[in-house]
């Protein structure tokens, strides 16, 4: 493996629309995707809500961005992990999400975290 390739994990933790963190986080990820690093996205807590289907932001006058997650595949960003407990606590299942994700236990995600060179929370 090329030693110049870094493992960079983006952790989405906030609900969409109430603040800009997830949206600007996604903008960061799209740029980083062009650099051919080993990128992964993890959705923990309210971060999962960013992936909820059927978001219609017309009424609040803010541009929606849930569909942008679907574009990640085209950038070869394929590691999307969702924390099982966060998903279950919110009464959601994988079917409620706009993209395919891998649902994992916290201990497994925690182990992946320790393998990273960089972890950025959004």
């Amino acid at each position: 493996m090329d030693t110049d390739i870094k493992k960079i994990m983006h952790v989405m933790r906030r609900a969409p629309h109430g603040s800009i963190y997830t949206y600007e986080g996604l903008e960061m990820i799209l740029i980083m995707a062009a650099y051919e690093q080993d990128l992964s996205l993890v959705f923990i807590g309210d971060g999962i809500y960013a992936l909820k289907k059927n978001q219609d932001t017309t009424g609040i006058g803010i541009k929606g961005f849930s569909r942008t997650f679907m574009a990640l595949d085209g950038y070869d960003v394929e590691k999307l992990y969702v924390d099982r407990q966060s998903l279950e606590e919110r009464g959601l299942t994988e079917d409620d999400l706009v993209v395919d994700v891998e649902v994992m236990d916290a201990s497994e995600i925690g182990r992946l975290m320790t393998e990273q060179d960089v972890v950025i929370h959004h």
Binding site: A15, G18, G45, D46, K52, G59, I60, E89, G91
Partner: protein, 98 residues
């Protein structure tokens, strides 16, 4: 007095704190990320029902519900748009729990 809550109850204690201060009849309005509290079937359902039983009407801002893709809300929760928000403010003094 109308109480508004704009934080997700999953990450932040604002909602559960506010409830301790509610007076009989006080309505509560969930806006922004606060609307996740009324998503049907989550763990805050019991708290919502107990508020309704104590005659504290529960409202949620529909544009915020729609923006977050919440398809079903807990029984008894009433939806308002911004005009309905204005009507509630006309009826009550306001306490915005930030």
């Amino acid at each position: 007095m109308l109480h508004t809550i704009n934080k997700s109850p999953f990450e932040n204690n604002t909602f559960t704190t506010c409830v301790r201060f509610l007076q009989p009849g006080d309505p509560i309005l969930f806006i922004e990320d606060g609307v996740y509290a009324v998503q049907d079937g989550n763990r805050f359902g019991a708290l919502i029902q107990s508020m309704l039983k104590k005659n504290n009407p529960v409202y949620a801002l529909k544009p915020d519900i729609d923006a977050r893709g919440i398809s079903a809300v807990a029984d008894g929760v009433r939806m308002v748009d911004y005009a309905g928000f204005v009507d509630l403010v006309e009826e009550h003094q306001v306490n915005s729990w930030l």
